[in-house]
């Protein structure tokens, strides 16, 4: 065993095959990097934590959907979500997310396709680097522009894998690199808003930043812009919730019209990067990979654990390198933060339901269009703020106080919306 250790120390890896910028199949990369490959393959595991991870639920495959195992339905867990998203694809099917291994099939078979979806969806659910490269004759931005507007089913033919090694790594140096045009553009806009012009992420980012940026290619709020369905990260005014809402307000974007109220509403989606940015860990230079892909010792080496998952399933490596507390105590710290977030999330959800009921009732009673418009605008705000935390997958951990702040604002918006429809009982108002 020691013999083996000494041996390993001399050979960081065996170059069994030559990898090129066109090697897509992770199994081939795995020949050179068996440990990383092994971890990568284990993202099929499904283990539930109190608020995260995922549960493996059996289902009977059918023609439309051959999956025999899915994650739990969030809509069934909390039916208020259906009403929150009434009229939008999310009210049809929305499940707890699970490991990277499933990203392509979960997207392919979600019932959300009952509403037609574009090829742009694939940016975050498949290994698109080579698809983009091919479609753009070597220019990934051109390829990106070509594939985005295609109908989903058609675009789906152009990809073969969920995210693979080549989406995060340069094949010859193994260095991290950004492969997604949407992030290159998004981060450039964000930096510009901070006074840094002409930011080129693959040129200017530090290694530690890259350990978060590779994740921020997908774990972010987004929308599809215009007829070209260009995938855009709405950060040109900043990446805090109020900056993003201001962006959407300015371009008068709506994701859909709410079925019960007619309000022009927005859905926030997995703003992990944005939320993490407001937290103490980001401020202290702790990257996504530090917690979700911590170094692990394998023989004499340290390798990044490519089994990307909830850190609560791996507290020892994910947290104890920095925090000298027992595992149980660290778990309790996380749960304390998450249960506060969950408490406020429920409060905000109730407030939003109340507002939706009030708008419905006011419309039925023929209330003035002014007051209804005011209430609808409050709904838009309350909904987006609430969704920003609800859709963020750490249940507040990535930025505990910021998550609570956003939910407090959401509650205020929803309740003010109700006020807009409920005049005071008297006529002359006194101060």
């Amino acid at each position: 065993n020691i013999m083996e250790h000494k041996q390993e120390a001399k050979n960081p890896f065996f170059r069994v095959v030559d990898l090129t910028d066109d090697t897509e199949d992770p199994a081939v990369w795995g020949k050179n990097f068996p440990v990383q490959y092994d971890g990568y393959m284990r993202t099929v595991d499904q283990v539930r934590t109190r608020y995260g991870g995922s549960e493996a639920l059996p289902r009977t495959p059918d023609d439309a959907d051959p999956r025999s195992i899915v994650a739990q339905s969030r809509l069934e867990e909390d039916p208020r979500l259906k009403r929150m998203w009434a009229g939008y694809a999310f009210s049809i099917d929305f499940r707890e997310e699970r490991g990277h291994a499933f990203m392509l099939e979960d997207q392919t078979f979600t019932a959300r396709h009952q509403k037609p979806q574009p090829g742009a969806c694939l940016n975050c659910h498949a290994s698109t680097y080579l698809a983009h490269k091919r479609a753009g004759d070597g220019d990934i931005v051109k390829g990106f522009e070509k594939i985005n507007p295609l109908p989903y089913a058609e675009a789906r033919q152009l990809v073969n894998h969920p995210i693979t090694c080549i989406d995060c790594h340069d094949a010859t140096s193994m260095q991290l690199r950004i492969t997604r045009p949407a992030f290159m553009e998004g981060i450039r806009a964000l930096k510009a808003s901070q006074g840094i012009s002409n930011y080129d992420v693959n040129r200017d980012a530090t290694r530690q930043e890259m350990r978060s940026y590779v994740c921020a290619q997908c774990h972010v709020e987004y929308y599809f812009k215009g007829e070209e369905k260009r995938l855009v990260f709405p950060w040109s005014k900043g990446s805090k919730v109020e900056n993003i809402l201001a962006y959407y307000d300015e371009i008068q974007h709506k994701d859909w019209e709410h079925a019960d109220t007619g309000a022009p509403v927005l859905k926030a989606q997995h703003p992990e990067f944005e939320m993490w940015s407001q937290g103490i860990h980001a401020r202290s230079g702790v990257a996504c990979a530090d917690c979700h892909m911590p170094y692990q010792r394998v023989g004499a080496h340290k390798v990044s654990d490519h089994h990307v998952r909830s850190p609560l399933l791996n507290i020892n490596k994910a947290c104890q390198t920095c925090h000298n507390w027992p595992e149980e105590e660290l778990r309790e710290r996380v749960y304390t933060i998450q249960s506060r977030t969950f408490e406020l999330r429920n409060l905000a959800m109730d407030a939003l339901m109340d507002l939706i009921s009030d708008i419905q009732a006011a419309r039925a009673a023929g209330a003035s269009s002014n007051s209804i418009a005011a209430a609808q605008d409050f709904q838009r705000k309350a909904q987006f703020y609430l969704d920003f935390v609800e859709a963020e997958n750490s249940t507040g951990f990535h930025a505990p106080q910021e998550a609570a702040r956003i939910l407090a604002q959401s509650i205020d918006f929803a309740r003010k919306g109700q006020n807009a429809l409920r005049p005071r009982t008297e006529t002359a108002s006194r101060n």
Binding site: N1, Q320, C322, N324
Partner: protein, 154 residues
Amino acid sequence: MGAVVKRSTIAGVVLGASMGLALGVGAYTFIYAKGASYFTDDPKACTNCHVMQEQYDGWIKSSHRSVATCNDCHTPAGFIGKYTTKAQNGFWHSFYFTVGNYPDPIQITKRNRRVTEDACRKCHADIVETIEGHDPEGNRTSCTRCHRNVGHLH
């Protein structure tokens, strides 16, 4: 009665066997991994086990690099204390290193933290006298609560 005797006999046999095994691996480890250097004060002695590399690297960066070596902090004062601690630590070190089943990151044990906190006081008695003076036994200030980076800067 008989049952009790029997059970403890089995326990004894199992314990003896595993001790033997442990000593065996211990001896192998000791020679191959340059274990003899373990008895010196040379910090490199500790890093002969490459699993300790991280602590070595941290120590090199720490403020105590030029004033204290591993043994200044991780062994109690006095010859006997020093070498019993070393023997005890050395045994577990060899055992875990060879078997490969230890917490990673490594975490200091309660007993050894106490040894280390005593070590602070060996050198810094003067300065902490004021704050320690009125302190009842067994209820002392933990130095590393504030100075967690003095030995190792990670």
